[in-house]
């Protein structure tokens, strides 16, 4: 869930990226920042208030092999303002803004067995004709759905799995 702060950072980064035409590059930068900050050892040091802020910033600034210049600046800003925990939320919100700008929808399809490339293609095409938007499909394999498929995009879910049907049946029988 994006906090108000994360939204503000994400919007600033997004507007900058759009201005420079660097959406893809910024997406990669945010991903790298998130990955680095997710390391508990790194986070422990960067969140430690007993270490002076400029020394903490120096960890990132003095390691040019980690990030390029823009990413380093963002990372320093986050360290300085004590927002390193917001990194994943900033990345999510940035993705959302980028998707929205490009008219893309991210969808997740859950099935019991791996979908074939052909089926995946069919689901993507069906959904994009229905929503009239480009669809980026993520595939999740979860044996608990037993059969059928479950499609989720945005806040919406269309559930046609055997597990959901069995649940409906269970309720029908239990209600008498």
């Amino acid at each position: 869930m994006a906090t108000a702060a994360a939204k503000r950072y994400a919007r600033a980064v997004f507007e900058l990226a759009q201005q420079d035409g660097q959406l893809e590059q910024w997406a990669r930068r945010l991903e790298r920042i998130r990955e680095l900050f997710a390391d508990p050892h790194v986070a422990a040091v960067l969140n430690n208030p007993t270490i002076a802020t400029d020394r903490r910033e120096a960890f990132v600034a003095d390691a040019p092999h980690l990030f390029d210049e823009e990413a380093t600046n963002l990372a320093r800003l986050l360290i300085e303002s004590g927002r390193i925990d917001e990194a994943p939320a900033i990345e999510d919100e940035f993705q959302r803004l980028a998707d929205e700008a490009a008219g893309r929808v991210r969808a997740t399809v859950t099935t019991a067995i791996e979908l074939s490339a052909h089926d995946r293609q069919r689901v993507t095409e069906q959904l994009s004709t229905q929503l009239k938007k480009e669809v980026r499909l993520t595939v999740v394999v979860d044996p608990r759905v037993i059969g059928g498929l479950r499609l989720q995009y945005g806040d919406h879910v269309a559930d046609a799995t055997v597990a959901a049907r069995l649940e409906q049946l269970r309720r029908r029988l239990a209600s008498t």
Binding site: G154, H156, D159
Partner: protein, 523 residues
């Protein structure tokens, strides 16, 4: 029980055959935080205000706060098994409760789940818990009475069918007793009763149920109970659920009575929910919409016109005051919403005046039209007499010698006050009330010692039943007193007073008894 496994499997087969699972299509969100009966859900962009939300493990909730990218919801029932990250779905429905005749005689929770040991309830219909009150066009003037069986109320603060009459008083002043007397008095009267217990301890609910059962009143009564141990969400919806069950009868053209015992506790539960939902607190920490909480509930009481079935729903809300303070926030709100209030006072209660009704400040704003004619004929003077009595009594405490008129007034008032006392769970039928009050207001009790008035009343009613048969029934039936009934009453009072040993009265035979043999001789 002779159910074979074969029969069961037949039923299951039948159900499986026409089972047509549909594709589930819903909005989903995820729980971000859960606690205090509140869930914070991320997502659910399209959730509606007041929509029923489905949590895992057949738990349901109500969407109450819709915010930019999250929804705050109250959880109906237990929430210990819900975790952060659980999926929540919209249902597209409002909260509904089962309704129907099948609920009569049962104790249920606010979701309609039975709490007694009488097995499942096979209702076929449900009604939404929150509903817009009937509009002006569908309504009719309140024109028929709810007989409470309590002399003081029926005579001076009459309640009409479709009215909202508040019962207000401190703890332990007999508020619940007024409700129970009223319910017990509806035996055989086509008035269905719903008793909603909110935030009471389970023992009190059990006691109420036992009292109603003993008096044979459960046959036409539903008890909706959200006890003190239930989550605040259930205490909050309990009156609405009870009201929906009453509306079912009203919509079918029948008459129903809803007792909400008590709305103070519901306001407390709502205050708790609002605080945990982070709504801004106002006066006494209640949220800004606490007035609407009660007004939308009580507005659903109505008398429908003939074109809409002619049913009615009467509301008897209860408010508990602290140290007789009626100017606190919730009491003033509910007083202003209702069509009158019955005010019970602890000092009257402790002085032995039971029901401990303060007739001076209790009023009924619409019920007067609905009072039966017989009662209006005898009780018209009662209110005035008692009002004057109270004024003089306060004044006369300091005066040593009083003129005769004042002393007579005081004597009369003391006897009338005594006449209005009655035991709990013993409602008095209309005929008996009229006969006793007639004797009192006409001054036939003035020579009876004050401490013998209760004895006199009991004896008089017994006398009427044994020696003047048909008189009480005639008053009950005609609901008005004509000359012949007045004559019979006067004769009966005179005879009984003579037997009671009061000077100036003599035996008078029943005028109707003289007419009857003459008529039979002719025939």
């Amino acid at each position: 029980m002779g159910i074979s496994t074969k029969e069961i499997s037949e039923v299951i087969k039948e159900r499986l055959k026409d089972f047509d699972a549909s594709l589930v299509s819903a909005d989903v969100g995820r729980i971000v935080a859960v606690g205090d009966g509140i869930a914070q859900i991320y997502g659910l962009q399209n959730a509606m205000a007041g929509e029923l939300l489905e949590f895992p493990h057949e738990t349901y909730g109500l969407a109450l706060n819709l915010e930019e990218d999250q929804v705050r919801s109250v959880i109906l029932g237990e929430f210990g098994h819900l975790h952060e990250g659980d999926e929540v779905r919209t249902t597209g429905r409002l909260l509904e409760v089962p309704v129907g005749d099948e609920l009569l005689g049962r104790i249920v929770n606010p979701l309609g789940v039975p709490l007694d040991d009488k097995g499942p309830i096979k209702t076929t219909r449900t009604l939404p818990v929150e509903k817009i009150a009937p509009g002006v066009i569908t309504r009719k003037r309140v024109d028929s009475p709810v007989q409470t069986g309590i002399k003081a109320i029926d005579a001076m603060i009459p309640i009409g069918r479709g009215q909202r009459e508040l019962i207000i008083g401190d703890r332990f002043t007999g508020k619940t007793t007024v409700l129970l007397d009223t319910i017990i008095n509806q035996k055989g009267k086509d008035l269905y009763c719903i008793y909603v217990a909110i935030g009471q301890n389970a023992a009190s609910v059990a006691r109420v149920a036992a009292t109603l059962e003993e008096n044979g009143a459960m046959d036409y009564t539903i008890i909706v109970a959200a006890s003190a141990a239930d989550p605040a969400s259930l205490q909050y919806i309990a009156p609405y659920a009870g009201c929906a069950m009453g509306e079912y009868f009203m919509e079918k053209g029948k008459e129903a009575l809803c007792c909400y015992d008590d709305l103070t506790k519901q306001a407390w539960a709502y205050r708790q929910l609002s605080a945990t939902l982070r709504r801004p607190p106002g006066r006494e920490a209640y949220p800004g919409d606490v007035f609407y909480l009660h007004s939308r509930l009580l507005e659903r009481a109505a008398k429908l016109n003939q074109a809409h079935g002619g049913g009615s729903l009467t509301a008897l809300p209860v408010i508990e005051t602290q140290a007789n303070d009626v100017s606190a926030f919730i009491p003033t709100n509910v007083i202003s919403i209702t069509d009158g209030q019955i005010y019970l006072q602890s000092d009257l209660f402790n002085a032995g005046q039971r029901p401990a009704l303060n007739v001076g400040i209790s009023v009924s704003r619409v019920g007067g039209d609905a009072q039966t004619k017989a009662m209006r004929q005898v009780a018209g003077k009662l209110r005035l007499d008692l009002a004057q009595y109270r004024e003089l009594a306060a004044f006369a405490q300091f005066a040593s010698d009083l003129d005769t008129a004042t002393r007579n007034q005081l004597e009369r008032g003391a006897r009338l006050t005594e006449l209005l006392k009655q035991d709990k769970y013993q409602p008095v039928p209309l005929g008996e009330q009229v006969a006793a009050l007639y004797a009192g207001t006409q001054g036939h009790l003035d020579k009876v010692a004050v401490n013998r008035v209760i004895e006199w009343t009991g004896g008089f009613i017994r006398f009427l039943k044994s020696d003047r048969q048909g008189l009480l029934e005639a008053i009950d039936k005609q609901q008005a007193l004509d000359d012949s009934l007045f004559a019979r009453l006067n004769a009966a009072i005179s005879t009984f007073n003579h037997q009671f040993g009061i000077e100036g009265y003599e035996d008078q035979p029943d005028p109707a008894a003289q007419a009857a043999p003459a008529a039979s001789k002719k025939a």
